[in-house]
């Protein structure tokens, strides 16, 4: 293998691993794409690079030019990916981060020199989005990539993650992924449906809206603009909710096959298992899912080692998706 010119060249081309031992249905294969293998540790490296490259192509950012500031609301992974790339490219990054994310997410932002602006934990990611929008209104000179509304987010998956999955597993019948910004499902989903319209797309969500205490009324809700603009509701076949306890149980089950992944990966695996379980007996199926990050950033939550009731309560008060 040749040497890579930059750590950013390591983004993407993540491995797809067979974890069918965990399938509840002997006729259904289960595979998981390990996005924790990206250099910044999550699937969001792809999104961060895609958004920065587009901003550079449009002239909004110029590598090497001093005093360029970016602002992004993020519960962690997008901020971490951006922080790594901004460090390499010489941009100053400010991340609006909800107060209740794991300590490791905060530490990783600091590793790459990002500035953290804390938003109220009780308002979850909604609060971070609201605060960021207010800040960029006061500072129009800052570059606001805005992962929730930036088409370069799903495009990263349409050009990268989707083709990689199709290359490695053209026999897939179902694709299951988490619904955060909706970028993965929109990009991978559109690509896979173009190759084979029969591929079913399942979205997995945590019950965040049940847990966010700072929501004043339902009009405070939020749907990512890219989800509505790119027809997310028409693209998806099914949307299922996975609660914290089940997410942690499946994060632990992944370890049985040697996979050390984050808590959201447990949630998406739980969704993939649900998907596999409803395939009729005797019908063959191949379910592919995405582990958005590795387990490293969640060690402080005791997810693998502490009593499950205690960890479940803890997970309710931190943002892990």
């Amino acid at each position: 293998m040749a040497a890579f010119g930059s750590v950013l060249d390591l983004i993407g081309n993540t491995p797809l691993v067979d974890v069918s031992q965990l399938s509840p249905n002997p006729d259904v294969r289960l595979l998981v794409k390990l996005e924790g293998q990206n250099p910044g540790g999550s699937v969001k490296d792809r999104v961060a690079l895609s958004m920065i490259e587009r901003a550079e192509a449009e002239g909004l950012l110029v590598p090497g030019k001093p005093d360029q500031v970016l602002l992004e609301p993020s519960s962690g992974n997008t901020g971490i990916g951006l922080a790594m790339i901004c460090r390499v490219r010489g941009y100053h990054l400010k991340v609006v981060l909800p107060a209740n994310v794991s300590i490791e997410r905060r530490q990783l932002l600091q590793v790459w020199g990002a500035e953290i602006i804390e938003s109220p934990g009780a308002e979850g990611s909604n609060g971070a989005v609201r605060m960021a929008r207010g800040l960029v209104a006061d500072h129009p000179e800052w570059v606001f990539l805005y992962q929730y509304g930036n088409p370069a987010n799903p495009e990263a998956h349409y050009r990268g993650t989707g083709p990689e999955i199709w290359r490695d597993c053209p026999e897939l019948t179902h694709f299951v992924a988490g619904l955060g910004t909706s970028g993965t499902l929109l990009g991978v989903g559109r690509y896979l449906k173009e190759q084979n319209p029969d591929v079913e797309l399942w979205a997995v969500e945590p019950p965040s809206g049940e847990l966010v205490e700072g929501l004043r009324n339902l009009d405070d809700g939020y749907i990512p603009p890219i989800f509505e603009e790119l027809g997310g509701a028409e693209l998806l076949d099914r949307k299922t909710i996975v609660r914290p306890r089940e997410s942690i149980e499946w994060t632990r089950r992944l370890v049985e096959v040697g996979v050390f992944a984050g808590i959201s990966a447990g949630a998406t695996l739980a969704g993939a298992v649900r998907c596999a379980a409803q395939v009729p007996a005797g019908e063959r199926a191949v379910v592919v899912t995405v582990a958005a990050d590795g387990g490293w950033k969640y060690l402080s939550t005791g997810a693998w080692t502490d009593d499950i009731d205690v960890v479940t309560e803890r997970a309710k008060s931190i943002i892990y998706f």
Binding site: K44, P73, S74, S75, N77, T78, G124, S125, N126, A128, V129, Q147, Y148, G178, L179, G180, T181, G183, E205, P206, P207, S208, G209, E210, L211, V212, E213, L215, R216, N217, L218, D219, D220, G221, Y222, I223, P224, A233, L236, D237, R238, K239, T240, I241, V242, R274, F321
Partner: protein, 91 residues
């Protein structure tokens, strides 16, 4: 047939602070209409004036979003759990 309906924190003040309430009905539409008539404070929170689900409201039957099943016509049976969950940001 009573089903359990889980309510998010933001709606609990309208039902005396309860997290779960039992409601009778055989479809999601029945359940939501019944809920809004029993708890007048909830009226207009879940269903819009045109009788459809409001934009930022997701309703799940046993963890499946009804928008991807039969929407308000999705059937429910005794023992099912219905969850009303606001759409919020992630990522």
């Amino acid at each position: 047939m009573p089903v359990d309906v889980r309510l998010p924190t933001v709606l609990r003040p309208h039902v005396g602070g309860k997290a779960t309430i039992q409601v009778e009905g055989s479809t999601i539409a029945d359940i939501l209409r019944q809920l809004e008539s029993e708890y007048p404070g909830l009226s207009g929170q879940v269903l819009g004036e045109d009788g459809t689900l409001r934009r930022f409201v997701n309703v799940y039957v046993n963890d499946d979003d009804v928008r991807y099943l039969s929407e308000l016509d999705t059937p429910v049976k005794s023992g099912d759990e219905v969850s009303i969950i606001p759409a919020v940001a992630g990522g």
